[in-house]
Amino acid sequence: MTKYEDVAVHGYEEFCKAVSERKGKEIFAYFSGDKDDQGKSWCPDCVKAEPVVRGELSYLPEGSVFIYCQVGDRPYWKDPNNDFKKTLKLTGVPTLLRYGTPQKLVEEECFKADLVRMLFTED
């Protein structure tokens, strides 16, 4: 029985819907470039970071939510006006963040298991 909820979404609208349906809960979100049919992302850093992040999920607080969000294809991501960059203020993928706080790990920071664990466990 997992103590956190694992949600997968694709694109900005689905992400916002998932968040709004879970008001009052502690939400952690991982943003990654889209995966192809073989399950490989166009973003090499995302490929590298995902197993590290998944390896620390057991440290998520009880009752929290983990949203795995594929942002879109490479051209969509490269557009500086895409919704993730404009509204969520993301600067790169992968990004792992604690929703509603300035606490986040960006790109190479996501490769470090101890930083991921720190984000999940510290206030």
Binding site: T101, P102, Q103, K104, L105, E109, K112, D114, L115, M118, E122
Partner: protein, 454 residues
């Protein structure tokens, strides 16, 4: 080894963070104790320089919006909330420090530290859980906290200090900076001063700063001291004070009372003696840096540099000591004031009035012209030795972006700036800073020091 840690740093502010990050990079590993409710970063990030500058900027932007209309912009009347934006920035800094410590393998404990003996530190967390650790070396960088005037009934109960909004150094500029930006965002503000403003700073410059503030709607109660603070049924605060000139008592009501009367380290649990030149205390393996140490300029950059240099000395990589002289300072009042070196009074005291030459100028920033702003207090003063190349002893500037101007010239100061150097420097035009290298009128001459033309 025989100790749990090579180094324990008590305090996660400017000094403490700089010291522990430096030591971690130099292959030591030690915990960094911090027991406040704030995030990492200490006074500077949470209730000091950072929020102060941001709020000062908010007030400056209010002025800029008014100026903009004179330059032809159509600006609607509007006000937006600043507090949330500032707090979000502070929280991102807290997080940034946390990530850095973790990355540099510095163990961080959110606990309050105190000394047990020369090599032992006790730490207590918010729930009261205790632990002890032994260390070869201990650095105290726990900073200072604002003082309340304990002889004024109601002061602590009804008044707040900068810690609730923001806070910086204790040289009386906090009161002025806060009054400045509070008035700048539209609040009716009064500053009560017992003796003089900006004690320790050049008093002529201090006068220009306060005259500008008074001309822009900030009230000053000079030579007054508060007697009582009472909360009225309406929720407003009634302050009773005495005018020291007439010994008459006065009363008025305010929404908030803010104390900016100085800061002191909380050393009750720490038995530290006076700190020596190399940050050592009377105990050979215990050191103190930053605001907690006596007689140092209480500034973020000096704490950071002292922290780094101490770390290098402890590791044996360097013998360099911190130089506390010639530290450039900026007061972020509505008319900013930047200075490096001696005040005119101090220069006279040290060298005698006949041995110094003061070059000065009243100038008008070009941007003020179209905006129809009053530049009466925009002023520059360079205090030099009279003889030879006229080495600069002190440099003073009031005007926009004083911090940026002063930082640039302080580098010259560090390199032994003389009046000759200033005169041989080609101006960059049009700027306010160029007026420094145009200086040619001396106080001694008695001539009008107002700059005319290009």
């Amino acid at each position: 080894g025989e100790y749990d840690y090579d180094l324990v740093v008590v305090g996660g502010g400017s000094g403490g963070l700089a010291c522990s990050k430096e030591v971690a990079v130099l292959d030591f590993v030690e915990p960094s104790l911090k027991g406040t409710k704030w995030g990492l970063g200490g006074t500077c990030v949470n209730v000091g320089c950072v929020p102060k500058k941001l709020m000062h900027q908010a007030a400056l932007l209010g002025t800029a919006l008014r100026d903009a209309r004179k330059y032809g912009w159509q600006i609607p009347e509007s006000q937006t909330a600043m507090a949330e934006a500032v707090q979000n920035h502070m929280k991102s800094l807290n997080w940034g420090h946390r990530v850095q410590l973790q990355d540099k393998k510095v163990k961080y404990l959110n606990m309050k530290g105190s000394l047990v003996d020369e090599h032992t530190v006790r730490a207590v967390d918010a729930k009261g859980k205790e632990m002890k650790m032994s260390a070869r070396n201990i650095v105290f960088a726990a900073g200072g906290r604002p003082k309340y005037p304990t002889h004024v009934p109601g002061a602590e109960e009804f008044g707040i200090t900068m810690s609730f909004i923001l806070w910086t150094r204790p040289n009386m500029n906090v009161a002025l900076e806060c009054a400045g930006f509070l008035a700048g965002i539209g609040l009716d503000t009064t500053v009560m001063v017992r003796r003089i403003a900006l004690r320790g700073f050049d008093q002529q410059m201090s006068g220009l700063v306060t005259v500008y503030m008074e001309a822009h709607g900030i009230k000053f109660s000079w030579k007054c001291t508060p007697k009582r603070v009472k909360k009225l049924p309406s929720g407003l605060l009634q302050v009773t004070w005495m005018d020291l000139n007439t010994t008459e008592e006065h009363q008025d009501t305010f929404n908030s009372v803010l104390w900016a009367v100085g800061r002191a380290p909380e050393t009750k649990t720490l038995n530290l003696e006076k700190v020596a030149a190399d940050e050592a205390t009377s105990v050979p393996n215990i050191f103190a840096i930053g605001d907690i140490a006596e007689g140092r300029p209480e500034l973020t950059p000096t704490a950071i540099k002292a922290g780094r240099l101490l770390a290098r000395r402890l590791v044996g990589r360097s013998t360099e000591l911190m130089n506390y002289e010639n530290v450039a300072t900026t007061v972020f009042t509505p008319l900013e004031y930047g200075c490096v070196g001696l005040s005119e009074e101090e220069a006279e005291r040290r060298h005698g009035k006949d041995q110094i030459e003061v070059y000065h100028a009243f100038y008008k920033p070009l941007e003020f012209t179209v905006a129809e702003r009053d530049a009466t207090q925009c002023y520059i003063k360079v205090v030099c030795l009279q003889e030879g190349e006229q080495r600069v002893l002190g440099l003073h500037f009031t005007g926009p972006n004083a911090g940026e101007v002063t930082q640039g010239f302080s580098l010259g100061f560090q390199c032994g700036l003389t009046y000759e150097h200033l005169r041989n420097t080609v101006r960059t035009h049009p700027t306010c800073a160029e007026e420094l290298v145009k200086l040619n009128i001396t106080k001694r001459s008695g001539l009008d020091a107002t700059v005319t033309g290009c």
